[in-house]
C-alpha cells in the first residue's frame, strides 16, 4: 500500500508554462493496457531528437545529469488538456512523487492525487525562488511535508504553506483510495437509484 507523508529530495526544474498532457505523454504511447511502463516515454518529444531514443536532446532537463530527484518543478498551468491519467502514471513510473507549480489544471490534479503524486501549488514568488535556488545550485533539496502542508527550500530556509483538501490528505497519508470510500456507500447509492430512476 502506497502512502505519503514527507519527502526531502533534490528537484528537477522544468521552466515551461502550460505543459499539457500531450507533452507529458504523447497520445501514440497510450496503447498499453496496464498502468506500468509509461515513464520511459515521459516528455518523449522534448526528451529525444526526432523521436529517437538514441538521440537525447542535451538541452532538456531530464537528460541533464545535474538534475535528479522525486520533485518536478514546473511553470504555471501544469497538466492542461487531455484527461489521460497516463500522464500521472508516466510521472509516477519515472519516479516523481511531487509536482510543484503555481497553477494546476483540474483533471490532472485529481489524477495525480489518485496516483499518490502530490501536486503542490505555490505562489508565483515562491516558484521563482525555487527556480533561482536550483539554478545557483542543482544539488539543493526541497522538503515537502504533507502533514504540516509546508514546502521548504532547505538551503535558503524559505518556506510556504500549501492547500490540499482534508479528504485527499487523509487518503494520501493512509493509502486509501476513492473506491474504498464509495464502496462503503453502496446502500445509499442503491437507494438513490431506486428513488430517482
Amino acid at each position: 500500500m502506497q502512502t505519503f507523508q514527507k519527502i526531502i529530495s533534490t528537484v528537477v526544474p522544468l521552466s515551461i508554462e502550460n505543459i499539457d498532457t500531450d507533452q507529458i505523454i504523447p497520445a501514440r504511447f497510450l496503447k498499453a493496457t496496464t498502468r506500468e511502463g509509461f515513464g520511459k516515454n515521459l516528455f518523449r518529444d522534448w526528451r529525444y531528437e526526432n523521436n529517437d531514443e538514441n538521440k537525447p536532446r542535451k538541452d532538456f532537463v531530464l537528460n541533464n545529469p545535474l538534475y535528479k530527484g522525486e520533485i518536478l518543478v514546473a511553470e504555471k498551468n501544469f497538466g492542461c488538456g487531455s484527461s489521460r491519467e497516463h500522464a500521472a502514471w508516466a510521472l509516477a513510473d519515472y519516479g516523481f512523487r511531487v509536482v510543484v507549480s503555481s497553477f494546476f489544471a483540474d483533471i490532472f490534479k485529481n489524477n495525480a492525487l489518485n496516483n499518490f503524486i502530490l501536486p503542490v501549488t505555490v505562489s508565483d514568488k515562491f516558484l521563482e525562488q525555487i527556480f533561482d535556488e536550483v539554478q545557483k545550485n542543482p544539488k539543493i533539496e526541497v522538503e515537502v511535508d504533507l502533514l504540516e502542508q509546508t514546502i521548504k527550500i532547505l538551503s535558503s530556509g524559505q518556506s510556504e504553506q500549501f492547500e490540499i483538501n482534508p479528504y485527499k490528505k487523509e487518503c494520501l497519508i493512509n493509502g486509501y483510495d476513492d473506491i474504498d470510500y464509495l464502496l462503503s456507500l453502496k446502500n445509499k447509492i442503491e437507494e438513490y437509484e431506486t428513488i430517482n430512476h
Binding site: E17, N18, A27, R28, T33, T34, K76, F103
Partner: protein, 465 residues
C-alpha cells in the same frame, strides 16, 4: 436566492454528502472507449467486483481505429490489442459496445447525442476531456481520469467537489462567415487557455440561443480548452426538437414527462454566478490560432502579436510556441501555405459541419499543394453524408472522405500529420505534436478550413462568400 442551472443539476445528483469529504455524485450516463478504460476494468478484476449498473455505461472504439479499410483487422498491433481488450471487457462485464464497423460506431461525443443517450438534466462522464460537449443539452458533462472510470463502473458515482460557476453571455448578430467554432476560439483567445480553470460554465445570450444543437456542441466541446471542466447551455425548443425521435430518446408518456422536467432546466433570473463575462458577437471575425495552445488565437485578418507586446513573463513561452510553429512574431497569417486540411474530431465532424463544407466547396477543387481529409464523426454521419450526395461533392473537389474515428485530431492512430508540415484543422488542440510528432496545427472553423483547402493557404473565407 435563485439557483443556476449548474446548481439544479448538481444538487439533484448528490447521493451523499459528509462534512470535509467530497460529494458522492451520481452519474446518469458513462461513456467509455478503448484508451482510458482497460486499466479501470483491471481494477474491477483485482477487487473482484462487478459493474454496478451495466445499462448506464456505453462503449465505442474511436481513438485508436484506422479510418481506412475499417472492414479489415487493425494493422497496428498495440492499437488492435487495445480495441480487442475493450471488446473482451464489454463482453465479460455485460456492456453494450458500438465497435468498429457497427452502424452506431463513432467518436464518443458524437454518438451520445445522435443516439439520444445524452438528455437534458443528466450528469455525464467519460475518460476524455471533451465530454464537455454534452453540455449543449443542458447536462453536466466532464472528463475524468481512469481511476474515476473505475469508480463509475464500480459504483455509478464519483467523488466531486462542486465547481465555481461562470456565466459567459454572448449577444448580437454574428457576421457573415463567422460560425460557432469562431465564437469559442474567440472566447478562449480572450480569457486564455487557463482562464476557466476551477469553473463550470453556462453559455447564455441571444447569440447562443440562435445556434443549432450541433453548433452549440462545438462551443461546449471546447470549454476544456480554457481550463473549465465543462460548459452547458440551458435546453430550449431547439434542443427538444433535436432529441425527439432519436434511437434512445424517451417516447410517448415518457417523452411528455421528460419534457415537463426539461422545461424547468434553466438558471433562475436572480441566480448568482461567481464570475460573469459578456461578449458582443459583432466583434468576432473568422478565427485562426497561431501558437501551441488554443488560447493563442486571433481574427484571421490580424497579425501575430509582436514579442514586445507580450507581457515580459510570458515571452519565453510565446517564443517557444512560435519557434515550434516556425512563424515570426508580428506577421499576418493570411496567405501562409498549408500542407494538410483536416475536417474532423468531436469538435466539428457532425453532419452540419460536413454540409457547411460541402456547400462551400461545391463546384470548386482543392489546391494542388494540399491533402484534404474529411473524417465523419460517426458511421451515421458518414451514411447521411453519402445519402445527401456530399461524398460526390468531396470527391469532385479532391477531398478524401474516410470512415469515422478520432483520426488526426490526436496522432494516435494511423492518421498523422508529418513532422514540420502545416495543417489547418477543425479539431480542438494545437499542442506541440498533437497531430503527430513535429506537426504544426492551425485551428479554425470548418468554413475557414474549407477556404484553405481551395486556395492552399490561410484565407479569409468572407472573400469567397
Amino acid at each position: 436566492m435563485g439557483q443556476t442551472l449548474i446548481d439544479k443539476i448538481w444538487d439533484s445528483h448528490v447521493v451523499y454528502s459528509k462534512p470535509g469529504y467530497p460529494d458522492a455524485f451520481y452519474i446518469d450516463a458513462h461513456f467509455i472507449h478503448e484508451v482510458t478504460s482497460p486499466q479501470a476494468f483491471d481494477g474491477l478484476r483485482k477487487r473482484n467486483i462487478p459493474v454496478f449498473n451495466t445499462k448506464r455505461t456505453h462503449a465505442t472504439a474511436d481513438h485508436n481505429i484506422p479510418t481506412l479499410n475499417q472492414h479489415l483487422p487493425i494493422k497496428e498491433e498495440l492499437s488492435r490489442r487495445q480495441v480487442e481488450m475493450l471488446t473482451k471487457n464489454c463482453k465479460e462485464y455485460g456492456i453494450e459496445l458500438y465497435g468498429m464497423g457497427h452502424p452506431f460506431n463513432g467518436i464518443v461525443h458524437i454518438i451520445g447525442p445522435e443516439l439520444g443517450i445524452t438528455l437534458p438534466g443528466m450528469t455525464i462522464v467519460c475518460g476524455d476531456s471533451h465530454t464537455s460537449t454534452h453540455g449543449a443539452f443542458g447536462t453536466i458533462g466532464f472528463g475524468i481520469g481512469t481511476s474515476q472510470v473505475e469508480q463509475v463502473l464500480a459504483t455509478q458515482c464519483i467523488l466531486q467537489y462542486k465547481p465555481k460557476k461562470m456565466k459567459i453571455e454572448i449577444n448580437g448578430k454574428l457576421k457573415k462567415g463567422v460560425v460557432s467554432k469562431d465564437i469559442i476560439l474567440y472566447i478562449i483567445s480572450k480569457i486564455t487557455a487557463s482562464g476557466g480553470t476551477g469553473y463550470f460554465v453556462e453559455y447564455a445570450g441571444e447569440t447562443i440561443r440562435n445556434l443549432s444543437m450541433e453548433a452549440r456542441m462545438t462551443i461546449c466541446n471546447m470549454s476544456i480548452e480554457m481550463g473549465a471542466r465543462g460548459g452547458l447551455i440551458a435546453p430550449d425548443e431547439i434542443t427538444f426538437d433535436y432529441i425527439k425521435g432519436r434511437k434512445f430518446a424517451p417516447q410517448g408518456d415518457d417523452w411528455d414527462k421528460a419534457l415537463a422536467y426539461w422545461k424547468t432546466l434553466h438558471s433562475d433570473p436572480d441566480a448568482v454566478f461567481d464570475k460573469v463575462l459578456q461578449f458582443d458577437a459583432a466583434d468576432i471575425e473568422p478565427m485562426i490560432t497561431y501558437g501551441t495552445n488554443p488560447g493563442m488565437g486571433m481574427g484571421i485578418t490580424k497579425r501575430i502579436p509582436s514579442l514586445g507586446d507580450i507581457d515580459e513573463h510570458d515571452r519565453k513561452s510565446f517564443k517557444k510556441a512560435l519557434d515550434y510553429m516556425a512563424l515570426e512574431d508580428g506577421i499576418p497569417l493570411l496567405g501562409k501555405p498549408v500542407d494538410y486540411v483536416f475536417f474532423g474530431s468531436c469538435t466539428n465532424a457532425r453532419i452540419e459541419d460536413l454540409r457547411m463544407v460541402a456547400s462551400f466547396v461545391k463546384g470548386r477543387k482543392k489546391a494542388d499543394n494540399v491533402q484534404v481529409w474529411v473524417i465523419p464523426g460517426s458511421k451515421q454521419v458518414e451514411k447521411q453524408a453519402r445519402e445527401e450526395g456530399i461524398d460526390t461533392i468531396f470527391e469532385a473537389a479532391g477531398f478524401q472522405l474516410r470512415g469515422p474515428g478520432c483520426s488526426a485530431c490526436l496522432g494516435m492512430n494511423e492518421d498523422k500529420i508529418p513532422a514540420g508540415k502545416y495543417c489547418i484543422s477543425t479539431s480542438n488542440r494545437n499542442f506541440e505534436g498533437r497531430q503527430g510528432p513535429g506537426a504544426r496545427t492551425f485551428l479554425a472553423s470548418p468554413l475557414t478550413a474549407a477556404a484553405a483547402a481551395i486556395t492552399g493557404k490561410i484565407t479569409d473565407v468572407r472573400e469567397y462568400l
